[in-house]
C-alpha cells in the first residue's frame, strides 16, 4: 500500500507552464481591484435605480421584506393558513403565496420568482397542488379554454363551458371580481355557518373559483362522518407533469438551500387515489431531496383541533374559523420544530397596520405595495351591492368613510399592469383585513 502511495504521489512530467508571476503582477491585480471598487461606488451612486432591480447589487441594497416562512400551494393553502396567527403565535413573519386553482407548475414558478427576492427560513408546501392532472384541470394561468373538471356532474361542466362562451369579459369587471371575492371570502365570516349570499343560484352565477362551492352549498349537507382521517400506505404514481414540477421544486430547494415542509391541510374527505399520491410525494421527497425535512398530514389531527362541520367551507376548504383553528394548531406544531414556544395571546388580534385615521370619520386604507407594476382596484361590497371606490391605478391607498370594524367589506383587487387585459385570470382579490402577500 505504501509502495502504491509513493508511486501515486511520485512527481512526473515536464514543466509545460512556466512561472511568470511577479510582484508586479500582484500589485497590478490589487490596483485593478481598487480601481474596480472605486468605479463601482461611483456607478452605484450615479446610476442606482429601481429599473436595474434585477441586478445582484440592487437586490442586496433593497429593503425587500423576506418572510421567514413562505406558504405555497393552491386554494387549500390560501384558505387554510392565516399569516397573522403564525406571526402572533410564533413571532415568525410568514406569507401565503398561494393562488386558487394554481397547479404545481404555477406554484414552482411563483416560488422561483419569490426566491429571487430573498431566502426564507422555510417554505411550507401544501401538497394539494401536486394532485392535479394538468390535462384534466382547467389551466387558469395559461389562458387556455376551460376543460372539464373530473368528478363534476356533466351538467355543471356544460354550464361552465356555456358561461365561458358567454364570456367573462361581457360582465362588468367589478361584478365578476366581487362574485369571486365574495364567495371566496364568505368563508371568512365570523358566523358559524358559512355565508352564502347566492343561495338558490345555479352555477351560471359563479366565476371559475366557485367550483369550490359545488353549487348551492350548505354546510349542513356535509356528512359528519365524512370528517375522518383515512390512511393508506400504498403509493400511486404522480402524473408526469406534477412529478416533473416536484423535481423542479427539489432543484430550487437545493439551489437556494431552503428547507421544505410538505403538509396536507385538513379536508373533510379525500380520495384513496389522492392519499396514495400523497404517499408517493412523501417517498419521492425522502429519496431525492434532503431539504424536505417535514412531511405531515394534518388531516389526522382533525379531532385534536376540535373541528366541527362549520369549520369547513366545503370538502376541500376551511372556513375562516377553521383556518384560524388549523393555523393555531399548525403554529404549535411548527413551534416544536423551530423550538419556539407559541404565544397565543396575540394570535387572534387582527390589528391592521394599514389603517390610518385621517379625520374623525375618514380612514385611509393602505394595501401592502407589491411592486411597481402592480395595479390596485378598491371595491366596497355590502348587502349584496358593490361600489367602485378606486379604479385600476398604482395607488394602493384609498380614503373613505368606512369604519375599521367593517374593513372586510373593502375588497382590493391586484393585477400586474402587463396582465391587466387578462385580469380575470391573473387578478387576485382580497378583503382588506387579512395580511397576505401574493406574487403573480
Amino acid at each position: 500500500m505504501l509502495k502504491w502511495l509513493k508511486k501515486a504521489l511520485a512527481p512526473s512530467g515536464e514543466e509545460t507552464v512556466h512561472k511568470n508571476f511577479t510582484a508586479k503582477n500582484i500589485i497590478g491585480m490589487l490596483c485593478f481591484v481598487l480601481v474596480f471598487c472605486l468605479v463601482f461606488a461611483g456607478v452605484e451612486q450615479l446610476f442606482y435605480s429601481d429599473s436595474l432591480f434585477s441586478t445582484t447589487w440592487n437586490r442586496i441594497r433593497s429593503d425587500g421584506d423576506v418572510p421567514e416562512m413562505l406558504i405555497m400551494g393552491n386554494s387549500h393553502a390560501f384558505c387554510s393558513f392565516v399569516p397573522d396567527i403564525i406571526n402572533g403565535a410564533l413571532g415568525v413573519d410568514s406569507a401565503v403565496l398561494g393562488a386558487s386553482g394554481q397547479n404545481a407548475a404555477g406554484m414552482v414558478d411563483s416560488l422561483a420568482a419569490a426566491l429571487t427576492r430573498g431566502k426564507p427560513n422555510v417554505v411550507v408546501v401544501e401538497l394539494n397542488t401536486f394532485y392535479f392532472d394538468f390535462d384534466a384541470m382547467p389551466q387558469y394561468h395559461k389562458g387556455s379554454a376551460l376543460g372539464n373538471i373530473n368528478g363534476m356532474p356533466k351538467i355543471i361542466n356544460r354550464a361552465r363551458a356555456a358561461w365561458h362562451e358567454i364570456g367573462f369579459e361581457n360582465i362588468p369587471q367589478g361584478v365578476t371580481q366581487l362574485l369571486r371575492s365574495d364567495l371566496m371570502w364568505s368563508r371568512w365570516s365570523t358566523d358559524k355557518k358559512p355565508l352564502n349570499r347566492y343561495e338558490g343560484n345555479d352555477v351560471l352565477g359563479y366565476s371559475f373559483m366557485n367550483w369550490h362551492a359545488m353549487g348551492n352549498f350548505d354546510a349542513q349537507m356535509l356528512q359528519a362522518e365524512a370528517i375522518e382521517f383515512s390512511k393508506s400506505d400504498e403509493r400511486k404514481s404522480l402524473e408526469e407533469k406534477p412529478l416533473n414540477e416536484l423535481h423542479r421544486l427539489f432543484e430550487l430547494a437545493n439551489q437556494y438551500e431552503v428547507e421544505l415542509w410538505f403538509v396536507k391541510a385538513p379536508t373533510t374527505s379525500i380520495s384513496q387515489d389522492d392519499i396514495q399520491r400523497l404517499n408517493d410525494v412523501a417517498q419521492i421527497a425522502k429519496e431525492n431531496c434532503s431539504f424536505v425535512t417535514q412531511v405531515y398530514d394534518f388531516r389526522q389531527n382533525i379531532g385534536d383541533m376540535g373541528f366541527e362541520i362549520e369549520d369547513f367551507y366545503d370538502t376541500g376548504h376551511l372556513s375562516r374559523q377553521g383556518a384560524a383553528k388549523f393555523t393555531a394548531f399548525f403554529s404549535a406544531w411548527a413551534g416544536k420544530i423551530m423550538d419556539i414556544k407559541p404565544d397565543y395571546a396575540a394570535a387572534f388580534a387582527y390589528q391592521s397596520e394599514q389603517i390610518d385615521v385621517c379625520t374623525e370619520s375618514m380612514y385611509r386604507y393602505t394595501m401592502n405595495a407589491y411592486g411597481e407594476d402592480v395595479q390596485y382596484r378598491f371595491m366596497l361590497g355590502k348587502d349584496g351591492k358593490e361600489m367602485l371606490v378606486s379604479d385600476w391605478s398604482t395607488n394602493n391607498s384609498v380614503e373613505i368613510e368606512l369604519n375599521p370594524q367593517e374593513a372586510d367589506s373593502l375588497y382590493v383587487t391586484m393585477c400586474p399592469l402587463h396582465l391587466l387585459d387578462q385580469q380575470e385570470t391573473y387578478a387576485l382579490t382580497l378583503p382588506f383585513m387579512v395580511k397576505n402577500t401574493c406574487i403573480l
Binding site: 504521489l9 512527481p11 515536464e14 511568470n20 480601481v35 434585477s54 429571487t116
Partner: protein, 488 residues
C-alpha cells in the same frame, strides 16, 4: 454549484490557490477531491455512479491493454472487455436517462394494441452530467482498445480525468490524449495563462448571464403558451432560442475552458462561431465540436464513414445524427431533431453539385461575399427550423407550432409579446445579439484577445471594467439557475 454563483467563485479561488501552493505531486489529489466535492454539491449519491463508471472503464482499459501486449491471440478477450465496459456504462445511461421514455412509449403502444400490460416508470432524478462523463470514459476505453493510447496505471489521475470539475457536468468531452496526460505536467503560476483564463470566464458569464438568460424569458413565454402566438412571434422566439442555446452552451464551455486555464490546463475548443457556417456540414464542425468529433471518431468511422457507397454513407450519417439526437434528450422530439439534421447533411451532399451549377448559372461568384452571406443565412434558417424540434416539449406542441406558423400570420401577438417581456428588454436583447454577431464576425479575421492584451493599460482596464459592469448591472441572476445542457 452552478458556474454563475458566488459559491463557485469561492470554490475556484480556493482550488487555484491550493493548486499552486501544493507540491506538484499532491496537486492531483486536491483536484480530484475538489472535483468530487463539486459534483456532490449537485447530488452526493450520484457521485457513486461517477465512481462506478470510473472503476469499470479503468479496469476494462487495464485488461485491454494487457491483452494488447499479449498479442493477437487475446484479440477476442479485448473485445469482451470493451463490450463489457460499453454495456455497463451505456446500461447506466439507459436506465437513468432513457428508461422512462422507453416505458412511456411501450405503454402507449400497449394501450393502442389493447394489451393489458404496463411498464413501470421510475422516479429517479437524472444525474447531472451523466451523458458527458460516460462518453468521456468510454472514449478512453475505445482509444485503449484501438491502441491509440496506452492505458494509464494511475487510478487517481484517471479518476480525475473522468471527473475534472470544469468540464464534468456539461463538457467539453475531452479526449484522453489531450487531457489525461496534462495531469502529469507541471504547471507554474503564469500571469498570462491565468489572465487568459479569467477573461475567458468573464466572456462566458456575459454570454450566459447577460444574453442567454435574458433571451430565455421571451422564449419560455412563447413556448409555454404555444396556442397564443402567431407565426411572427414564433419566428422571433426561435431566433432567440438559437442564440439562447448558443450563448448558454458556449458560455458554459468558455467558463469551463477558462477555469481549467486558471490551473494551467488546456481544454479543447467546443464552439467556433457556428452561426457563420455556410453549410450544415460546416455547422456541425463548429457546433459542440467535442461531441460531434466524438461521434465521428467512435461511431461514424467504425460504421465506415464516407468510404462506402452513397446509400451506406447516407445510412451511417442518419444513424449518427439519430443517436446524437437521442443523446441530447430522452424525448422523441430530440430524435426527430437529430434525424432532421441528418437529412440536411444527406440532401446537402446530394444536391451540392447542382447548387454549384446553379450559382454559376446565375453568374454569382462562388467565393464571393454575397454567396457567402446567402449561404450563412440559409444555414441559419435551416438550423432555426431544426431548433423548433429541439425546443418543443412534444409532438403535439410541435404540430400546433407548425400549424400556427403556416396559418397565423398576425403581428398582434408579437406586439403583445414585446409588451409582456417589456420593450426595453427586447431592445436590449437585440443590441446584445447584434453585438455578439459583430464581435464574432470581427474575430474571424482579427485576434481580438491578442489586440486587447497588447494594448495600453488604460484601454485594457477600461475594457475589463466595462465588461464587468455590463455583467453586474444587466445580468439576469438566479432567474434561470442552470445551463440548458445540464439536462443532457
Amino acid at each position: 454549484m452552478a458556474f454563475q454563483t458566488f459559491s463557485y467563485f469561492v470554490f475556484i479561488f480556493v482550488m487555484v490557490i491550493g493548486y499552486y501552493a501544493l507540491p506538484t505531486r499532491m496537486r492531483w489529489v486536491l483536484l480530484l477531491a475538489g472535483s468530487y466535492f463539486f459534483y456532490m454539491c449537485w447530488n452526493a449519491t450520484y457521485a457513486l455512479l461517477l465512481l462506478f463508471s470510473t472503476v469499470i472503464t479503468f479496469a476494462a482499459s487495464l485488461l485491454i491493454d494487457s491483452a494488447n501486449r499479449k498479442g493477437e491471440k487475446y484479440k477476442k478477450h479485448k473485445k469482451i472487455y470493451v463490450a463489457l465496459s460499453l454495456i455497463c456504462n451505456l446500461g447506466i445511461l439507459f436506465f437513468f436517462k432513457y428508461w422512462n421514455m422507453i416505458a412511456a412509449t411501450l405503454n402507449d403502444g400497449f394501450t393502442w394494441l389493447a394489451i393489458p400490460l404496463q411498464v413501470q416508470r421510475t422516479s429517479v432524478l437524472l444525474p447531472v452530467g451523466i451523458s458527458f462523463y460516460i462518453f468521456q470514459a468510454l472514449g478512453y476505453t475505445i482509444d485503449v482498445y484501438r491502441g491509440d493510447v496506452k492505458a494509464t496505471r494511475h487510478f487517481g489521475k484517471y479518476a480525475l480525468f473522468v471527473s475534472f470539475f470544469p468540464q464534468l457536468v456539461a463538457g467539453p468531452i475531452e479526449r484522453s490524449s489531450n487531457l489525461l496526460y496534462q495531469f502529469d505536467e507541471i504547471h507554474r503560476p503564469n500571469f498570462d495563462v491565468m489572465r487568459a483564463g479569467a477573461i475567458k470566464i468573464l466572456v462566458g458569464l456575459i454570454k450566459k448571464v447577460l444574453i442567454a438568460d435574458r433571451l430565455a424569458v421571451l422564449v419560455d413565454i412563447v413556448f409555454s403558451n404555444a396556442e397564443q402566438y402567431g407565426a411572427p412571434a414564433y419566428i422571433v422566439a426561435v431566433v432567440c432560442f438559437a442564440f439562447q442555446i448558443y450563448c448558454d452552451f458556449s458560455g458554459y464551455s468558455d467558463i469551463a475552458i477558462g477555469s481549467a486555464g486558471l490551473l494551467g490546463f488546456r481544454l479543447m475548443q467546443n464552439f467556433d462561431r457556428p452561426y457563420f457556417s455556410t453549410s450544415i456540414a460546416e455547422f456541425w464542425r463548429r457546433w459542440h465540436i467535442s461531441l460531434s468529433s466524438w461521434f465521428r471518431d467512435y461511431l461514424y468511422f467504425p460504421l465506415g464513414g464516407s468510404r462506402r457507397s452513397m446509400l451506406r454513407w447516407a445510412l451511417n450519417t442518419m444513424i449518427v445524427f439519430l443517436v446524437s439526437g437521442l443523446w441530447h434528450g430522452a424525448e422523441w422530439t430530440f430524435v426527430a431533431w437529430g434525424g432532421l439534421n441528418g437529412l440536411y447533411q444527406i440532401v446537402g451532399r446530394v444536391t451540392k453539385s447542382r447548387r454549384d451549377h446553379l450559382i454559376q448559372a446565375v453568374g454569382m461568384n462562388p467565393d464571393g461575399r454575397l454567396r457567402q452571406v446567402m449561404a450563412m443565412f440559409c444555414t441559419f434558417v435551416l438550423t432555426c427550423f431544426a431548433w423548433l424540434l429541439f425546443r418543443a416539449d412534444n409532438f403535439t406542441q410541435l404540430q400546433l407550432i407548425f400549424s400556427r406558423l403556416i396559418s397565423t400570420w398576425e403581428f398582434d401577438s408579437l406586439l403583445q409579446l414585446i409588451h409582456l417581456v417589456n420593450g426595453r428588454e427586447c431592445l436590449l436583447m437585440a443590441i446584445l445579439v447584434l453585438s455578439l454577431l459583430v464581435i464574432e464576425w470581427i474575430s474571424q479575421k482579427h485576434d481580438l484577445y491578442a489586440k486587447l492584451i497588447t494594448s495600453s493599460l488604460p484601454l485594457r482596464w477600461s475594457v475589463y471594467l466595462a465588461l464587468m459592469f455590463v455583467l453586474i448591472l444587466f445580468g439576469k441572476y438566479n432567474e434561470s439557475p442552470s445551463f440548458i445542457y445540464f439536462q443532457f
